[in-house]
Symmetry: C2
Subunit: 718 residues, 2 copies
């Protein structure tokens, strides 16, 4: 990232309530939210272990909160109680519980709390966000959630000890209470779930039937389980665990003048087969014997984790970025981890990134955007997913030209949109999403785009890793991809025009009128279509460029196709304005930003994309297009936010951030810093209920909630 | 039941829209609801297999509907689509889907249905209710849910074939569409769940990851899976199964002039360990190898099941009862089955009845009321639960007198309130509900009542079965119960007064002021308490009477205690009015009906409870009390409904029905038929959202929703 992106509006150093406890030095490197800043602290963020499809989600005031697995959203009816009470006084809690009565009312007929709560209000709550630390300061408390992320060991080969550290399905939370006196205080840290708890035997904590549990390493903390936190506080006598209770956690005495910290691991352990269609367990069941084992390991590593988190927080703080970009990086990384799932398929690891709230498996148009994050932190995962697609979720099909749909022509290999949904694995060669016979509407096939995605991912993976074994085992597939890509322009070379002309036979349908779509599936009919789509043409161009790299001599046809596409894209630009239409075949269409997107692949593979390099004319044309559309009313919202299509109020944050990177680093078009503020507020305000999200209409999340793809922001930090 | 209960207001024979299909003869024996009657058809009912803790719940218009397991309520977001469409016309469906947009809107950003629905409205929907058949008639459709119930084979000894029939975890639904022509119609029968589906391989149907599935034996029915039913209807081409779909089911062509019936089995198969605390699977996993096996077996038995249901419907129709009593019997039986769970504990069967929405295991104060139903249909289940309590959920404790709480005195054996909650088994000797140290409030111990319950259940079980092995293995426990019951009046015989005076030490607490409660736990402090409670005294009386039966010579002390209690109860009556206060020790209290309740145990054990028999004075006193309180403003609501306590607007339907039986059959006090109408309307209107429920305030269900205990109504049919 260039110096132009360095933060210009310096943010004042956070003045925290806990200066005396030594947090202030660290806090200075965090991104402050709440009072004293102009950023709200009132929004959900994910905090997730890696590979457990789980998240400890909190931050939105008075909303469902806490640890859940396999949900794709915050746990319904969940609540986190973190705070303290001074003898006789009200409960001072962070507002991480829904504003609903305790469940005890179901038994009592009425809510009868004798323990008034006084949750902290927004004006009292300071929030500091780092890459791995999310921290709240209110009154005399500090609450932290720690989610380290380091390069992930390859589960197929790494030592078990390293894997236990990386894939422990638990997160650490820390609650510190200072007591200036003169009265004793009691610290409370508890989780409410729509489930019931039992004390664990191997650790100091409690677990519930659906596998979630929590534990602490502080022996003097008192474990409790109660039907609503208020019931606990009414002093339910010597038996601190009521089996009927839905709230489980710990209390700890804080004497006058003392400060106490409670560290709690909260995690999940699902031992059974968790999938349908294919029979798999979580990989962590190979690494841990039980929930107790998980929680004990997480607690034993608490100090190491704190240090790792601090180091990663510092790395992000040092990145030459606008503060809002740093926020977006941190927020996106947490959301990505919440969607990750590492499965055990008969001893072989399967890497799955779920599609946020939709929970589709390894949705390929997400994979192709997240590949840059994964090449930094888990390159083995890229190969793992590409291998899965190559083995199980590819198909061979014919194509047809919409002008002559009764004639099926040679096509070739293609890949599915996804591998299944909600832990249900789709049959071989079929996704959960795609439906045959649709005409360029949501749920149609994405054959050509997923084909380009396999090649682009393989290309950047090979460029990054030089993995000769991968190349050897997929060389024939790469050759097949080369042929299929060309055929999807047109099987007859003389008829090729430099974009996708021919539709996959799966789309044809009984009316012979169907057509493919791109990942921009919920844009309108003309922009979401694949046929003649400039965005897709550029992805095909990138695929051909990388195929040529991988195939050497045999890649000559790909080189020619890349040239053909580049020429077509250049020719599409309006001679006066330089603006390229979304559709290259003359169909009327509004301009879109993502025509520049696919430059990312050759760029990350090391290609010269300078104005004077081999693709100079294309690069110059795309820059001219971008500058022309990046104006208010075309592809900019009034607040500076980017609008991917001039004709649709429907933007994907992940794609914006990817295109911003391409614009800045490849085309030298720096983003207006106002855009970072706008995009950060989309997440904080527009997606406050959902955690990091992708699809926004005028800054409000309307779909693709709790989404992993925004991790395209990792590009910003190298 | 006496002739006085025979239905007086004859209900007109149902005139159905399907007279031509032969339904009318059968329908005449059902209880009609909807147009042409003065009863609403708009309320939920359970339809459940036995022992699967599952229910196909439907009937409430525009509410969550369909098959769910382990929920204690209707499945959130579930919907049943049953109906038809004529080419080009709107969908005519029963209104069994929530009024929310199809989930497709989450992907599309907006609901875009091209297939208008026109659900049937209340004025078009006739509902006919039998003991085993729930039937809806609307337009040209008939929809039936069939839930047979026959005596249940003992899982410990019965042949596997008989068990497969009795415990198949599936229900049968039948949809019949008549097509008078001239256009083709398509029948639709489908289930929406918050889960995803795959085609099954062993049967013609689909299953989803959390174990629910459906299948049909009609080969020409077309299976489909779609994201919202409307998507299916838009004609998603040749691929009829979209993996992303949340709606799975079948369509079937109905040519002009034809009538077609589709039979579908819908069931569940959870193969894994489903409990915490103790490790158990469902018993049905011993009987069936897979979901396919379950559904195939259910379908193969469809004709047998229809015949069994018709026979049982006829039995209820022939019972000399008011129509509303017949409704209550049918409604209650369905609700009871929904809470039943048969588990496999290492090869030994465990019978569990869950406590409705609360999902507590074998809550003992329910067991003691449901025992009469179980003695008819599953006497082995009574012994199974009593054995579980004897082995694991008993404890020995001391007692104390509240006037001298520091002095602990000999007490003896007692039993817990329950065995766990939500499939979490409590530790030995502990319930999930009870909390130590509380003073006569909800969640305190019920030691004395559960002790009386164990004895009363064992007593009626022995009287009904003459099970010598049961008596032999529990004789020493019965002796211990005799001693403990007496000690809970007072350990020193000279201090005994004929009611519970001494509290269990578990209640004492640090303040030495705690006290026990009865199953009327959410009545006010004075009426919910066990101490001096007339209702409990009568249960202790019944226990002593039955102990004396069981113990022969050794039961002499019990005989004496029974006499003492009877004398105290008789003496408590006001000489002028005959009214007995709820509390026998002079504490001011309002009268209650349930002081008569425990007469049921000696009555069912064959004791002479005539006015001239050995308990004649007690019986006469109780009759005088009942007649005095059973007046408007005391223990009657204005509509004739019963009010268990004069001082609290909080009634339990199950207890009312039990007391009505005692009043009629033992005391000869017939119920006003208006009361049956009132109580039926409590269920139909006051619990419309929940299925059969127990706890009502002024006719509106406020707790104990979806509850099994109302099966006390089985007493009415013998």
């Amino acid at each position: 990232m260039r110096a132009s992106l360095v933060e210009k509006n310096a943010i004042p150093v956070a003045i925290t309530a806990m200066a005396s406890t030594g947090h202030i030095g660290h806090a200075a490197r965090m991104i402050p939210h709440g009072p004293g800043t102009d950023r709200t602290a009132d929004f959900h963020a994910h905090h997730a272990p890696v590979g457990a499809l789980a998240s400890f989600t909190c931050g939105r005031f008075h909303a469902d909160s806490g640890f859940g697995a396999e949900l794709g959203k915050a746990v319904p009816g969940g609540a986190v109680f973190a705070g303290y009470r001074e003898a006789g006084g009200p409960l001072r809690l962070l507002p991480f519980a829904p504003m609903t009565p305790d469940e005890a009312a179901r038994y009592l007929g009425t809510a009868t709390s004798d323990a008034p709560r006084r949750p902290f209000v927004a004006a009292e709550i300071r929030r500091e966000i780092g890459w791995c630390t999310d921290r709240w300061l209110a009154g005399d408390l500090v609450f932290e959630v720690l989610t380290p992320h380091d390069p992930l060991p390859d589960p197929a080969t790494a030592p078990i000890a390293a894997q236990r550290d990386a894939y422990v399905p638990a997160v650490l939370v820390r609650l510190t209470i200072a007591n200036p006196g003169p009265h004793e205080r009691t610290l409370y840290l508890a989780q409410q779930l729509p489930d019931r708890w039992l004390p664990l035997t191997g650790v100091h904590g409690l677990g519930c039937r659906r596998g979630v549990g929590l534990a602490t390493d502080t022996p003097e903390a008192q474990a409790f389980c109660a039907l609503g936190l208020d019931r606990e506080l009414e002093g339910f006598g010597a038996a601190r665990v009521q089996g009927l209770g839905n709230v489980a956690g710990f209390s700890l005495r804080v004497p006058p003048g003392a400060t106490r910290t409670l560290t709690v691991a909260i995690g999940v352990y699902l031992p059974q087969v968790v999938t349908l269609g294919r029979s798999m367990r979580y990989w962590y069941t190979r690494l841990f014997g039980s929930l107790d084992d998980v929680l004990a390991h997480a607690l034993a590593r608490a100090e190491v984790v704190r240090a790792r988190c601090a180091a990663r927080d510092a790395e992000l703080a040092a990145a030459p970025l606008h503060a809002e970009q740093r926020f977006l990086v941190a927020h996106a990384t947490r959301g990505y981890h919440a969607s990750t799932q590492l499965l055990d398929d008969g001893g072989r690891p399967r890497w799955v990134v779920h599609e946020g709230e939709y929970l589709m498996h390894n949705t390929f148009d997400l994979t192709a955007d997240m590949v840059f994050h994964e090449l930094r932190f888990s390159p083995w995962a890229v190969a793992n997913v590409l291998d899965q697609y190559a083995a199980e979720y590819r198909y061979d099909s014919r194509v047809y030209h919409p002008m002559d749909p009764t004639r099926l022509m040679p096509g070739g290999v293609a890949f599915t949109h996804d591998m299944g949904v909600m832990n249900v694995w789709s049959p071989v060669g079929r996704s959960s999403y795609e439906v045959d016979g649709l005409d360029r509407v949501c749920f149609s096939h994405m054959s050509c785009e997923e084909l380009a995605n396999w090649v682009c991912c393989a290309g950047v993976y090979l460029a990054a890793t030089r993995d000769a074994a991968f190349l050897a085992r997929h060389r024939s597939l790469l050759l097949a991809c080369q042929a299929s890509l060309a055929n999807r322009d047109h099987p007859e070379p003389s008829q090729r025009r430099g974009w996708m002309q021919c539709e996959d036979e799966r789309c044809r349908g009984t009316s012979h009128s169907g057509g493919e779509i791109t990942t921009y599936d919920s844009l309108d009919h003309s922009l979401g279509q694949s046929r003649a789509n400039g965005y897709l043409a550029m992805k095909m161009w990138a695929a051909h460029v990388l195929l040529a790299d991988a195939l050497g001599e045999a890649g000559a046809p790909a080189r020619a196709e890349a040239q053909r596409i580049a020429a077509a894209v250049i020719a599409s630009a309006d001679p006066v304005t330089g603006i390229m239409p979304a559709l290259l075949d003359g169909t009327p269409s509004a301009p879109i930003i993502p025509v520049i997107e696919a430059l990312i692949f050759p760029h990350r593979a090391g290609h010269d994309l300078s104005d004077t390099g081999p693709w100079g004319e294309l690069v110059r044309a795309l820059r001219r297009h971008l500058r022309a559309v990046l104006v208010p009313g075309v592809c900019l919202y009034p607040d500076g936010g980017w609008k991917l299509s001039a004709s649709a109020d429907n933007s994907w944050a992940s794609k914006i951030h990817l295109c911003q990177y391409v614009a800045e680093v490849v085309l030298g078009v720096a983003s207006d810093p106002r855009s970072h503020r706008a995009h950060a507020d989309w997440q904080r305000h527009g997606a406050a209920d959902h955690g990091v999200s992708d699809q926004f209409h005028s800054g409000v999340a309307k779909g693709s909630l709790s989404y992993p793809r925004i991790v395209t922001t990792t590009l910003w930090v190298g």
